[in-house]
Symmetry: C2
Subunit: 364 residues, 2 copies
């Protein structure tokens, strides 16, 4: 594997190297996966289609940037060469982490879900990782079925271009529950992070009080689901049981992190008898084990409140993410609402992700 940054042009890059932790590699259509599916499941896909829990899918959710249509005529985000030019070259992306959102992971037929995840991962290797050495990827998993998920992790773990596994933002149970522990054990053993990407649905409503009416409620709602997942991961003792585990929150924001940890610590002070398996305050586990992608950023009215928010969450726990090529993406030069000290900026845009994902340095 290449360990130095290939230059797309002969000009020296004017921008400092960055790592983009949330790039969406898209299917032009599900036909892209046909070559990677065994006959039985290809037939299944053609006959029965995909079928997951409903209620969290909107056409708008997957809208793309208007300028992201490749000349090839394929859908935005589905042309590796165009993504390389428009995103990696233009912004001097040293590493980009791929997060395909394809429906694999939420199919109601478990074996089909596993076959689809395997196909997506094979497609990522053949069409994205092999041609483009700047890319890394999330392993797509049938995460509701730990045995099948662990088998897929074992299949990929030898390929270090896979840096993490992907959960949806709303699995069927809160992420700390023991049905998912074998997945965490496998990730810890192989040095893979566990990433929870906003959106998706386990079948229930996104709120604790039933189904909301508007897309904007599902657009803002993932922060609440991630709060529940984070609480669950902590109080179930996942980080005690898997001390090497690293968790990444993608597209859930982070403005809510400080107040959640204040509240959780004070609840823990009152209720620790219920969770004797916890040796430390909840905030300590989060500060040690959890990273947050920047996009979308909650923007305070006063820029210096943003600086304080970064301090509270931890400048070493934020990692830049563009969400390319979705319509609400963040360009690297305008993503942050305030001018940060250079060393903090370098951490968020490069060093934190390099260390988190143990990537060979390419900044020099």
């Amino acid at each position: 594997m290449a360990t130095t940054l290939p230059r797309a042009t002969t000009e020296a890059p004017v921008r400092p190297a960055i790592i983009d932790c949330d790039i969406h590699n898209e299917l032009d259509s599900e036909r892209d996966l046909y070559p990677y599916l065994p006959a039985r499941w290809l037939d299944h896909l053609k006959t029965y289609g995909t079928r997951g829990p409903s209620g969290a899918s909107y056409p708008r959710f997957l809208n793309r940037r208007n300028d992201a249509h490749p000349p090839s005529g394929r859908e935005p985000g589905s042309d590796p060469a165009f993504t390389a030019r428009q995103l990696l070259d233009e912004w001097n992306v040293a590493y980009g982490i791929l997060n395909p959102l394809t429906g694999a992971g939420s199919q109601l037929n478990p074996e089909f879900d596993a076959a689809l995840a395997t196909a997506v991962n094979d497609w990522q290797v053949a069409e994205w990782l092999d041609p483009e050495p700047r890319l890394r990827a999330s392993i797509i998993l049938p995460f509701e079925h730990a045995d099948l998920a662990v088998a897929e992790i074992e299949r990929r773990a030898g390929d270090r271009r896979f840096v993490q596994v992907q959960f949806s933002g709303r699995p069927r149970e809160p992420m700390g529950r023991r049905k998912y522990w074998p997945i965490y054990a496998a990730c810890e053993a192989h040095g893979l992070a566990v990433m929870s990407h906003a959106f998706g649905s386990g079948g229930g409503p996104i709120t604790g009080c039933g189904w909301p009416s508007y897309y904007i409620e599902d657009h803002v709602g993932p922060a609440q689901s991630m709060q529940a997942n984070l609480i669950s991961l902590v109080v179930e003792g996942v980080f005690e049981r898997f001390p090497g585990l690293r968790v990444v929150s993608a597209e859930n924001g982070f403005g809510w992190v400080p107040s959640l940890l204040w509240r959780l610590d004070s609840a823990y002070a009152l209720l620790r008898d219920e969770t004797p398996h916890l040796a430390r305050r909840p905030s300590e586990y989060v500060r040690e084990h959890v990273w947050f992608c920047t996009q979308p950023i909650e923007e305070p009215e006063r820029p210096r409140d943003f600086l304080r928010l970064v301090e509270q969450v931890g400048a070493d726990r934020l990692i830049f993410a563009s969400d390319y090529a979705h319509w609400d993406w963040d360009a690297p030069d305008t993503a942050l609402p305030a001018r940060l000290p250079d060393e903090v900026r370098r951490k968020i845009f490069y060093e934190n992700a390099r260390d988190l994902y143990r990537l060979p340095d390419r900044a020099g």
Copy 2:
């Protein structure tokens, strides 16, 4: 009604007068309600008991302060004279707002729910409001059934000692949905606030990803439900439709308010075509229409971060609440984690609630 503060002792009070916006008046047992139930529903209660959605009830939830057992032998919080002595006298409470949590409002039989709510309100009048002029109360409602709820509002609206109606923290639908609008119309017409008190359950899990394992998750979780309710109230256009409506959030914290509004405003900037009934940014509605009770307070590690949080939420939108006599209550002298400027303190402990509930002044 008295408009000056009755003194319980001949000593001048050493503490400044305060308003406590969340006092729990408890039943010693459901037998307390027998005198207030018509024969049919008394028989129903004795025969069938109470029956609501399950999944959010823990013995611990209703634990009381160890020192709150009245000499009468009744349960803590259920003896009006003792509450008056231990809370109102001791802390110079000029007004205390009662919030009984009795199961009325969540009974699955709608007519029984309405009868139980009426009984609880009659019990409040006879045993709490009539004997103690410092007390005010929330109207208990069969809030899932707007027609029955409006009838109860009409029954109480002439008694100005009822200052608001009570919703649970997790109704069956997010609070903005139109099934609840007739209730809001009645509250607006009668100058009553709408209070959402943490806890309760509409029957679904508290998280967007299913049922959590621990009580601490339900203890910390109400903040997420209130976030969903607040988003819903705003984006459904409730505050456009009912411009006089005032909403009170009780026992949900408020540290999450600023980042939620930042996120919601920026989502609105992108998605306003979906909610053309909104004329203003979401944060403007919240800042104008919503008040937050202090208890429980998220305590930042740096006291000056708490001062900034108060500014961000709005010093005129916070109202003191003790949560007496629950085990995790806040004493007025230690409730706030930082020393606030005197005028801010006076707002939070007295002036904001006086203005919100339009109470005759008793501070002087």
